[in-house]
């Protein structure tokens, strides 16, 4: 019976690494953005929120194409990375991470924003009257109260990055162990008419995605029941 070869396994390993790095970065970057969006009364809230949500509606190829142009040697990101001595980002793992961060941003920011908004102003005021400064309040009150939001954000960000295809296709260059992730590998198998291998990987993705969502929904149900 045919199963996964070493190239497939490398693609799986790379995908998990990409999703992990992206999720960690997104939680770090997304938290302040979500916090700002949840708390601000600035007029920029609408535009910034819309920009963050763009990947929800844009075809990944659009995002991928713009990233390819922007991160290319003549694009503004490319100019910047070159002047910093970093070269250009397309065809690199770092480039995939940058693209994935943009692409999965709304899946992390929105659950966090919802969680922060649900906390409301009161617990923050209470904490302030109990001598907790803003950072202290964030770590001792906001974080614990928005834990379900962080779990949701982490799972969705991870899963969405695993499922990413169009953007990677546009800027990845399909380099084994650097940019060839599972979804691209599945595409290649299909294109090459290697349907059996395609089934193995595609089936694995299906099961993975289902398990992730199952975990998410069961934990949500539990949470709702408890609260």
């Amino acid at each position: 019976m045919l199963s996964l070869d070493s190239i497939d396994l490398a693609a799986i390993g790379l995908t998990l690494k990409l999703a992990t790095v992206t999720t960690v970065l997104l939680l770090a970057i997304g938290t302040p953005i979500a916090w700002w969006l949840a708390r601000t009364r600035s007029r920029l809230k609408g535009p910034i929120g819309a920009v963050v949500a763009l990947p929800l509606v844009l075809p990944p190829t659009v995002l991928g194409f713009y990233l390819l142009v922007a991160m290319g040697p003549n694009g503004f990101v490319g100019q910047l990375t070159q002047s910093l001595g970093l070269g250009t980002l397309p065809f690199t793992f770092a480039g995939l991470v940058v693209a994935s961060v943009f692409y999965s941003m709304p899946f992390v920011v929105q659950p966090l924003q919802n969680a922060f908004e649900a906390i409301g102003e009161r617990p923050l005021e209470v904490a302030a009257t109990l001598r907790a400064g803003p950072w202290d309040t964030f770590f001792s009150v906001v974080l614990p109260l928005s834990k379900p939001g962080f779990v949701t954000a982490g799972i969705l960000g991870f899963a969405h990055t695993v499922g990413e295809f169009g953007v990677v296709l546009m800027i990845g260059g399909n380099i084994p162990e650097k940019t060839r992730v599972v979804s691209v590998q599945i595409y290649d198998h299909v294109e090459a008419m290697e349907y059996a291998q395609a089934h193995w990987l595609a089936g694995g993705m299906l099961v993975f995605s289902f398990l992730v969502l199952l975990a998410l929904y069961t934990s949500r149900l539990k949470h709702n029941w408890r609260g």
Partner: protein
């Protein structure tokens, strides 16, 4: 509107016992705030005693809570000056704004707002452990005993009743050893039974701790029972501020024209009459007999005398069933809420009284300022 200076003069004429606490030196609280929102403006200048309970009293929408939030630094005022017992917390002219978490205050919200993810014990510790050990003046046991929450310590907030939550909220605020305790209608969200469950704790707080309290309330009963000092707010402005007894006895304030018009008297239990099952309460200028109280002799007790329960006579009428008779001098007479009635303010040897009588009786008896009368008190409402 009558200015403050004028009011003080009016009071000193008759009521000799004005208890306005002088802000001698730097002791006391000075708060000036101006806040403007569409449709609402707050403009207050408060000089409050540095000890005891000060009630911020007024209808909803009068700006009480906004005022309290300004003191806490939770509301950003357009103009603000705040000095608490010699410490400057805010001065917009000089760019001083101490953020809330650096102000040594405790805040009790209308709903207890306990942190749902922490047990009662951890809630209590939250503020306490953020205060340097050297500056802790309220001990753990003291706060826990005072509010009777020993048995609740290991519970989660969701397993507490409303009254229990509020007691924990108060203890939590106290454990930060605040220099000022702010309470925003802490009883408003509770039903009558819970209110009566908590009031004694608040009284003990008042009696046992030396922390000045700013207490927002719209309930005359709560104010009469707990406050030493009253600030009356209406539409964002201070209508009156002063000692509880003197302020409630004023006839120029809207409070005088409600059903509840009356005075508060601070008394001491002087004697129990076991035969008739009565207790005698002494106060400056006289005494009253009430149904036997459980408290010991020497216990301080407040009672309210409603204006509608006071009638006036030219002479001491020994042939009446009314036992409580007090000699009193008429200070002023004003028209009451109906044209048929007048309100008469009297001074019974230092204790103010208000009587609500018909204009006809007033004319027939020839009641005018300066006249000596007998006040017949039909009922007193004991507080506590």
């Amino acid at each position: 509107m009558i200015g403050e200076a004028e009011i003080l003069v009016a009071m000193s004429e008759c009521a000799g016992e004005e208890r306005l606490v002088a802000t001698e030196g730097r002791v006391g609280i000075h708060a000036r705030f101006r806040v403007g929102y569409p449709g609402f403006a707050l403009d207050v200048d408060l000089r409050l005693p540095g000890r005891g309970v000060t009630a911020l009293f007024g209808h909803s929408g009068s700006g009480k809570t906004t005022c309290l939030r300004c003191v806490a630094g939770l509301e950003s005022a357009d103009m603000g000056v705040l000095e608490v017992n010699g410490e400057l917390w805010q001065d917009s002219a000089r760019g001083v704004f101490v953020p809330t978490h650096r102000r040594s205050l405790g805040y009790v919200f209308q709903e207890a707002s306990l942190f749902p993810h922490l047990s009662v014990r951890r809630n209590l510790e939250f503020g306490m452990k953020r205060v340097a050990a050297a500056t802790r003046r309220v001990a753990w046991d003291q706060a826990v005993d005072l509010l009777g929450i020993e048995s609740l310590l290991d519970r989660m907030p969701e397993r507490l009743s409303g009254g229990e939550r509020q007691r924990v909220g108060i203890a939590r605020a106290l454990l930060t050893s605040p220099r000022l305790l702010l309470m925003d209608e802490p009883l408003a969200a509770l039903d009558l039974k819970r209110k009566h469950e908590i009031l004694p704790y608040l009284e003990r707080l008042h009696d046992e701790l030396e922390i000045p309290v700013l207490y927002v309330s719209h309930s005359p009963d709560e104010v009469a029972r707990l406050a030493d000092h009253v600030v009356l707010l209406d539409q964002g402005r201070v209508v009156a501020q002063g000692g509880l007894v003197a302020t409630l006895a004023r006839l120029d304030l809207p409070t005088a024209f409600t059903e509840d018009a009356g005075v508060v008297v601070e008394s001491v239990i002087a004697e129990h009459d076991e035969h008739y099952h009565l207790s005698r309460l002494d106060f400056p200028g006289g005494n009253v007999l009430v149904a036997r109280r459980p408290e010991a002799i020497g216990h301080r007790l407040r009672f309210r005398v409603h204006a509608r329960d006071v009638s006036l006579a030219e002479s001491r009428n020994e042939n009446s069933s009314i036992t409580n008779l007090l000699p009193a001098v008429v200070c002023e007479v004003v028209t009451a809420d109906t044209p048929a009635h007048v309100l008469v303010r009297l001074d019974a040897g230092g204790t103010p009284l208000i009587a609500r009588i018909t204009r006809r009786s007033c004319d027939q008896l020839g009641i005018v300022a300066g006249r000596q009368m007998w006040a017949q008190i039909k009922a007193v409402a004991l507080l506590g």
